[in-house]
């Protein structure tokens, strides 16, 4: 594991009216790791994701990615820089085919917008990923006809089209059957072995303990603990936050 931070958040704060969703949150995601961001419901995990990827604007704090400070995080620029994300509820383009879903995610320079929607290279890259994710048989079907688990896989495959450096997965196994959970875990491990870094929000603590290192715990929008899975699991503050003990 490399110790250099690929993503750093410093003092992130976000308020919605009188509610402080995230307060002075500082953490980093080391390059080459599968870092977990966990916490009870409403602890601010998804808000942190939205702040990091520019879907929400922070009231205070800074984000740095790949050694560069991002002044105003914007989803389009971050995606092009190599930071992608999935959503808590699988978000796909239901009326498009699986191949089209993937090809939309290829970075296109303006001069190519008049070119054929799916070029030969685009198709072969899309089929490569669909093969990897076991969806190749469904390549030409409407994405809306997939099961929820398959939609999760498709969304995961889609964010890999641009060959990112860091993928933020928001509850990748929520609402997914055990077979699909195993498949998603395998994919994450394989991609991580190839050098891809992950930041994962997840409620399935067994999966987190198996898969992630380090683990960051949020509670009420602030960082409660950070460290190796075993240390975090035994941290009294974490137990208190989760169990109210």
């Amino acid at each position: 594991m490399s110790s250099a931070a690929l993503l750093t958040a410093e003092g992130l704060t976000k308020r919605f009216g009188g509610v402080v969703a995230v307060e002075d949150c500082t953490f980093s995601v080391p390059t080459g790791t599968i870092t977990a961001l966990v916490g009870p419901n409403g602890s601010g995990k998804t808000t942190v994701f939205n702040l990091l990827t520019g879907y929400l604007r922070a009231d205070a704090g800074t984000v740095a990615f790949a050694g560069r400070r991002i002044r105003r995080p914007d989803p389009i620029r971050l995606y092009r820089a190599g930071l992608t994300r999935t959503f808590q509820q699988a978000r796909i383009f239901p009326e498009l085919t699986l191949v089209e879903n993937l090809v939309v995610a290829i970075q296109q320079p303006w001069r190519t917008i008049v070119c054929r929607a799916i070029g030969r290279d685009d198709r072969s890259r899309a089929f490569e990923l669909l093969e990897e994710f076991g969806l190749v048989q469904l390549a030409e079907l409407r994405a809306g006809s997939l099961s929820y688990g398959q939609k999760k896989l498709l969304e995961f495959a889609t964010v890999l089209m641009a060959e990112p450096q860091l993928v933020l997965l928001d509850e990748p196994t929520a609402g997914v059957n055990p077979v699909m959970v195993a498949a998603i875990e395998t994919r994450i491990r394989e991609l991580n072995a190839r050098g891809l870094t992950f930041l994962v929000v997840e409620h399935n603590m067994n999966l987190v303990m198996r898969l992630c290192d380090p683990v960051i715990v949020l509670d009420h929008g602030t960082k409660l603990a950070e460290g190796r899975p075993a240390d975090v699991r035994n941290d009294a503050r974490v137990l208190d936050a989760y169990l109210g003990a």
């Binding site: 990827t53 879907y55 989803p75 389009i76 995606y79 092009r80 992608t84 994300r85 959503f87 978000r91 796909i92 383009f93 239901p94 009326e95 498009l96 089209e100 090809v103 939309v104 995610a105 970075q107 296109q108 303006w110 190519t112 917008i113 008049v114 070119c115 054929r116 929607a117 799916i118 994710f133 076991g134 048989q137 469904l138 997939l146 099961s147 688990g149 398959q150 896989l153 889609t158 964010v159 089209m161 641009a162 059957n177 077979v179 699909m180 195993a182 498949a183 395998t186 994919r187």
Partner: protein, 336 residues
Amino acid sequence: MRWITPGGLLRGGGVFGLLAAFPFVERTDWIVNIGVFTLMFAGLATAWNLFSGYTGYISLGQAAFFGIGAYATGITFEHISIGSGYRPFYALPLIGLAVALVSVPVAWVALRTRAMTFAIVTLMLLFIVQQLAFNLRSITHGSQGVAVPQPTFASNFDRPYYLAMLSVLALAMLICWYVRRSKLGLMLLGIREDEEKARGLGVRVTGAKLIAWALSVGLTAMIGGIWGYYLFYIYPESAVDPLVMIGAVLMAFLGGKGTLWGPMIGAFVLVPAQQWALTSYGATRLYLIAYAGVFVLVLLVLPRGIVPSLADLVSRRRFRATDRPDVRPTVERVAS
């Protein structure tokens, strides 16, 4: 998606060949006149579909640019001697281009809103343009309107307008077809399905929407230009008429928005029926009830429009006829 299929080429060539032959075969003035109006609405619905059908942003303000196109033709006649006969038709691409360019900053502001708010903003735009047409008397002559010199065509009077409308419709269909098969089309459909998601995948959403908007507005203005020349007088009430736009939008919904042929089919079903009912039962106004009845029927029987509903029917039949691939997830299939 294949770029050109023999079936598609045959379909397109056949339909437009028949439409081009129509005014040479049928010479009755009033029938060709209905043809002009049908093609006008087919063009407007197709141009509307290029932006609203592909992006999901429902614009109710395109009639503003239809009116601006009509006024642009009239004002050009007044200030620049472009001649009569067929020559004004050659100026249409320039009118379309100019109106499209002028509309881009307006769209850039309007597109900061979404869904119903965008529809209302564009509707307001229509009324603003109508008010400007009434009040900028030095340019538009207010409620007196702009007079366009009557051309002297040697042949059937309606035929040149019919062919001009057909040319713009063909151009609109060609652009829609090309856009749908291009990367721009894929970007637009991504925006329609989930704009936030598309942004998160690096799609330049604002640029893509503005290009689609400009193409749609340019075509709408060209149709407005022909219409202004056809009627000789351009008034604010008729040039910037919300009913024109609502009619075109309903036709696109009837045929199937977001499809290539849907808006044109919607216009070809509705306009002749509307014109026939108007001439037959116009005095009693009963035709309006029949018109509303058509929409109720479509909403009940074909809620997604004619083309998508028929496509669903065909694909369901094909699905029953073939074995569906085994798509059940297994660890081996998904993770190996």
